[in-house]
Structures are given as C-alpha cells and as structure tokens.
C-alpha cells in the first residue's frame, strides 16, 4: 500500500547570525553594495546551519510515529515542513491525506474573543468548515470541560482551561494525518491522560499521527514507532521502546548546552584569561577531597567592556556528562552587571560532599546571552575528586547518579 507520508532527501538550511535577513531597507541597500563580497564570504559556511540533513522515511497509513531528540535536533523544523509552514531547501515530501497540525496549543486563539468564538475561529484556521465545527461543537466543549465559560473572553481563562479548549478543537479536526508538537506537556495530569486517550481513539480510527515530545513516557505510551533525530539526521528509527532506550543511553552525548569547540581561542581582544587555579584549604591543588569545599579561581583581564557579558563555567565528568554549569550572571551581582576594564579575580566555591569520585574537566567562557560567544576555553582545567576515607559514607560513590551529595536525613519519631 502507498505510504501516507513519504519523505525523500529532505534538507533545510537556515542562515544564522550574519545579516542575510534584512530587516530594514537600509540594510538591504548596504547589502547590495557589498553583495559581491558577501557571496564570496558566505562560502565560508560558518553562518549556515542545516537544521535537517537528508532525511528519508516513510509512514504507513494508521501508524503512530513519535519523533524524539534534544532541542535543536530538527524536530520542529521537520514538523514545520510537513505542515507546509516553511519550505525545504532540498528534497521532497508526499502527503497522501489531509494534514492537521497542532504545533502550538491555542494558535490563533485570541484573548479578547470568547471561548465560543475562539472555537469557531481556531477550527477555521485549522482547516475545518463552519458546518463541521457546528456539528462537533458540543463534543468539543464537553471534552474541554469549559461549558460554563463559553461566553467569557479567553483572557479570563486559566492557562489550563485555554489548553484544554485548544486541544479539544484540534483533537476533533479529524485529519488523515495529525501532526502534534509538545502538546501534552502542558495541562494537568488528568487532562494529559484524557488527551492520550483521545489520541489513541484517533489512531484507532485509522488516522496517522506524528507526535513530537520530550516526554518519553507519552511517546512510549502512544507510538508504535519512533524516529530519533540528532543534528538534523535520523540517528535511529524503529520500535519505540528500542529508540527511546537508545536515546536514554546516548542522551548525555547528545546533550551539549554550549558548544565552544568551533569558537575562537581563549584570547579574545575584549577579555584575556590569565590563569585558572583550584584551591582547597587555601592551597592550590588538582586533587580534591570530596568532603571539603573547594574554590575555582579565575584570574582575567578585561580590556574592553562588553555590555551584558557573562562568565560561564561548565564542569563535566570524564564520561563527558555535564555535571553542572554556572555563570556569574546567576546572582546578578553588581560587579557582573557593571563590567569595568581591569584585572579581576572570580572565585567560585563548590560545596563539599557533592561530587562523586573521579576525573572532571572544566571549561570556561565568556558570552553574551542569546547573542555571541566572546571567548571560550574548552577543558581549561582538570581535577580529580577523591574520597579520603573508607567508611560507610564512601559507599555512596558507587551508587547510580551523576553526583553523590551528602544530604542530611533528619529523623524524628511521630508520636
């Protein structure tokens, strides 16, 4: 039988940074003047990312396919292409059925309109005819449990109510292909169960569902098959349980909150790193007693003040798992808020009784949030954590978990 969805060589390229997207005429005019150079430079490809890279898969009619992967893996881009919101750069997709997509709950909901009005408007936006909405209206409202508030503007709804109503409209869309992105993560547990039930019902009616979620449990619960996306490619595809297990096994490698590897060296013109030292009990060391606190000393020179810049520290264990990240912007101290030219020393204290024994790597960087990285030093320092005694406390390092905090258990008898 003909697959309902066929994807062939699908790729999507985005340009990031740079000034390719002209937001004002002035930029466009300036761009025109620089055009020959720009074309030449853009071959450097540094500001091009392939959100999707040569995807190939098929979905049979009636299948429920989960799409998983960490943020930025390309899940949303894939759904946007399948829902015709954006065009692919390469490749093609054949869809053999009406598509209904729910990329965000309550898309098209207007806070000034009443619940009733929004049901009709939202239904029309999702592709339902008025007659269709009218026919299903009572069912939708009953599902959403918002009968009492039908004539109240949605702005007075709680977020849970809005989500319920929006999901109810979409769930009654009855498309042949239903595309859902991260819907069930909102709303209370009861309603999530109800949604899952509704989705099961939808699939029993022979409809095809593509379901994207971070919540592996719900993917496991409703999808027979899953695709694991990573950096725009399908890394694994097959029976859901296998794919989710694979994802869990490898998720640490796939998780990288900040990638500094592709960035300029530790010497930026704005900031220069002098040295990083670890101190425990006022002595420099790289062998850390796990029961005592230690301090990371960062000695640096600011040559040029960069507004909004922050220092970042990432500590990984020797398996490459990130144990923690911290920034001097976390507490918004005056010194971090108002940078000045000069030489500085930042001290970061890590409490004792927290880390497991083993080797650790620390990376340091300076960035402007959501903008650019000024400076990055990958694996700038290394240290080993050891357990000084072989007592009962030491056994905690052998238990599962990324850290082994020594936590107080206060036990009192209830009389």
């Amino acid at each position: 039988m003909k697959p309902i969805i066929a994807v062939e060589g699908l790729s999507k390229r985005y340009r990031i940074g740079g000034r390719q997207v002209h937001n004002s005429l002035r930029d466009a005019v300036a761009g025109l003047v620089r055009a020959p150079f720009k074309r030449f430079r853009s071959n450097g490809s540094s500001n091009i990312i392939w959100a999707l890279n040569d995807l190939n898969f098929e979905v049979a009619r009636g299948e429920v396919v989960g799409i998983i992967g960490r943020n930025g893996a390309g899940k949303s881009t894939l759904l946007k292409i399948l829902s015709q919101i954006t065009r692919p750069t390469k490749g093609r997709v054949a869809l053999n059925g009406r598509v209904g997509s729910l990329l965000e709950v309550g898309t098209g909901f207007h806070s000034e309109l009443t619940g009733r009005e929004n049901v009709f408007l939202n239904g029309a936006i999702l592709g339902m005819s008025r007659a269709e909405i009218q026919r299903k209206f009572d069912e939708i409202v009953a599902f959403a449990e918002t009968e009492k508030f039908l004539d109240t503007p949605v702005k007075h709804y709680s977020s849970g109510m809005t989500v319920r109503l929006a999901f109810a409209v979409a769930a009654h869309l009855e498309p042949e292909i239903l595309i859902i992105d991260e819907v069930l993560t909102i709303g209370d547990v009861e309603f999530q169960k109800k949604c899952l039930g509704k989705m099961n019902e939808v699939t029993k009616a022979g409809r095809t569902v593509l379901f994207v979620s971070h919540d592996l449990n719900s993917v496991n619960a409703i999808c027979e098959r899953a695709l694991l996306l990573h950096e725009g490619s399908i890394v694994k595809s097959g029976v859901t349980a296998d794919v989710t297990r694979y994802y869990l096994d490898h998720s640490n490698n796939m998780y990288s909150p900040i990638t500094w590897s592709a960035l300029p060296d530790a010497d930026a013109k704005e900031v220069k790193l002098n040295n990083i030292r670890l101190l425990q009990n006022e002595t420099s060391t790289s062998a850390i007693n796990c029961r005592e606190p230690f301090t990371i000393h960062i000695d640096y020179q600011i040559n040029e003040v960069v507004r909004g810049s922050r220092f970042f520290l990432i500590v990984r264990n020797d398996k490459g798992e990130v144990i923690f990240t911290t920034s001097d912007y976390d507490e918004l101290t005056p010194a971090a808020m108002k940078r000045q030219v000069g030489r500085f020393l930042s001290r970061v204290e890590v409490p004792g009784g927290l880390l497991k024994t083993g080797g650790y790597y620390g990376s340091l960087g300076v960035d402007i949030r959501d903008d650019r990285v000024i400076f990055a030093a990958d694996d700038a320092f290394h240290f080993d954590v050891f357990e000084p005694e072989d007592d009962i406390q030491a056994t905690r390092h052998r238990r599962p978990g990324a850290i082994s905090p020594l936590l107080g258990w206060e036990i009192t008898e209830i009389k």
């Binding site: 466009a28 098929e58 954006t86 093609r92 098209g108 029309a124 890394v235 490698n253 990288s256």
Partner: protein, 298 residues
C-alpha cells in the same frame, strides 16, 4: 571532548530502517512539497477550499477592532465626519475650494467615505502579516487571507459611514438618480485596489519593517494625490492623465458621481479600472513569490 566530536560516531551508524523510498508515493500525492518546485501557482482551488477562513478572519478583525474602546463603533462615523468638518472649515470656507457646484460638506464627505475606507484598509492589511506572526509560524493556510480579511473588515465600516450620506442628501436636497446603482461597483473597485495595495505592503512589511513607518506617510501623500479635498475638475486638462493614473481618482470620482448624480468621467474611471487590475495582479504574484518564506522571516 567537545560535544561535536563525541557523537559523530552516532550520527551515521544506525541503519535507517524506513529509508526504502517507494517512488509510487510520489505519484499523484494529495500534497507534494518539493524544494525544486519554484513555480508560483495560482492555487485557486485551495483558496476556494479555505473560503470560510476568509469569512472568519474578517469577522475576527471586525470583532476585535473596537474592543476596549470607549466610543466603540462610533469611530466609524467620527473619522470621516470630523475630517469633513475640518476640510469644510479650512478648504471650503477659508480657501474657497470649488466643489463642482455641490455643497462642500457633502462633496467632501462623499469623497472621504471611500478614502477613509481605503486608508484604513491599506494600513490594517499592511500590518496584518506581522501582527499575525504567531499564526503564520504555527499553522498553514493561504496567507493571502490575512491581508484580505483586514480589508474585508473595513467594508462594514465603509457601509456604516455611507449610510450617513442619506440624511446629508436629504438636508441638501440632492435628488438621487439612476447613477446611484453604480455605487456598489465603485465600492468593489475600491476594495480590489485596497486589497492589491494592502497585500503588497503586508508582504513587504514582513521583510522590511520600514513599511510600518512608511504607511502613514504614504497614506498622507496619497490623500493629496487623490481628489478628496478638491474636485478632479480643477486639475488642468493637460495634467488630468497624471491624476487618473492614481486609481483612487476613479474610485472617488465615480463614488461621488454615483451619489451626487454628476456625470461620470468615463476615461478617468476606465484608466483607474485598468490600473487597479494591474496592481492586483502584480501584488498577487509578488505575494505568492514570498509567501513560503514568511514563516522563516517573520
């Protein structure tokens, strides 16, 4: 130890189970999304399938227009009415602007009704795509209905403002002639023109936010380039064509003649119709060409 290195081994190892591409899936699919396909189709059947959405978007714009305003729908009348009073004072009384033998207030109002509609329609539709950016980036439907809905919503205002012409005609004792029957046609012409201009501005606004600042300026200039304050007859015959190239001339003059029973200037109106259609076709294709990239840019 950086993230990129550690999982390169992941990326290509797994055999992709469902990669067998059966070509027949691509034979007459219901929907084909193809990166190579750069043709700009009319997709009229799709527009037809979604026709009810246009009604809903228009209705939504009407509903929302005067929410949380103290005077509400009264604004529909206030806008052209106060403009008429001001124009009557400055141009009618002080500057003694000729008005083809019609009382100046009536003359001005009959021009201001279609003009106000047009000005509001292009302003609202010009901002419409940017204003609906969340909708555009989250759900697919023919985007053209967003500016079209904004224009459509203005039609109700247009109709309400037109009703005020009736007491004015009675007051000034202007007889209604058979020409009144042409009124809807000029309203239609004005709507098509507003759609054409609005669509183009909306698409342009997605990419160049300058449009937002340019619109009020454009509207102001256009007002003086159209025979709202003054009659087309004061323009020397030699320059008449220049005025007629602006299709709003035909809309306003035609609208006014239908109401006041003054003779139609058929050559001006004819040229306006041609210009309007050209603008509509141009805008439609310009819109279609950039439609797919809205979600990436907006």
């Amino acid at each position: 130890m950086n993230a990129t290195d550690s999982h390169t081994n992941l990326t290509k190892t797994e055999s992709q189970i469902h990669t067998t591409s059966s070509a027949d899936a691509f034979e007459n699919p219901k929907i084909l999304i193809d990166a190579r396909d750069s043709s700009i189709g009319l997709h009229l059947s799709e527009l037809w399938n979604y026709r009810e959405l246009l009604v809903f978007l228009t209705w939504r714009d009407i509903k929302l227009r005067y929410k949380q305003t103290a005077l509400g729908a009264a604004w529909v009348i206030i806008q052209p009415l106060f403009a008429m009073l001001l124009f009557t004072l400055f141009f009618g009384k002080l500057a003694r602007m000729p008005s083809d033998g019609v009382p100046y207030p009536l003359f001005a109002y009959a021009g201001l009704v279609p003009w106000t509609f047009f000005a509001n329609a292009i302003t609202n539709s010009g901002h419409s795509l940017v204003g609906n950016s969340t909708l555009i980036s989250k759900v697919y439907f023919p985007r053209i209905y967003i500016p079209a809905g904004a224009v459509g919503a203005g039609l109700l205002d247009f109709a309400i403002a037109s009703i005020l012409l009736v007491p004015m005609l009675i007051y000034y004792q202007i007889p209604v002639t058979w020409q009144f029957l042409f009124l809807p046609l000029f309203a239609l012409l004005g709507t098509i023109l507003a759609l054409g201009v609005g669509m183009w501005l909306a698409a342009l606004n997605v990419k160049y936010r300058d449009v937002r600042y340019a619109i009020p300026f454009l509207v102001q200039l256009w007002l003086f380039a159209s025979p709202v304050i003054y009659p087309a007859s004061i323009v020397p015959a030699k320059w008449k064509w220049l005025l007629a190239v602006n299709p709003m001339t035909g809309v306003i003059e035609g609208f006014r003649s239908s109401i006041l029973g003054t003779p139609f200037d058929t050559s001006t109106i004819g040229l306006s119709v041609v210009m309007t259609l050209l603008i509509l076709i141009f805008s439609f294709f310009a819109f279609r060409r950039v439609e797919d990239s809205f979600a990436d840019v907006v």
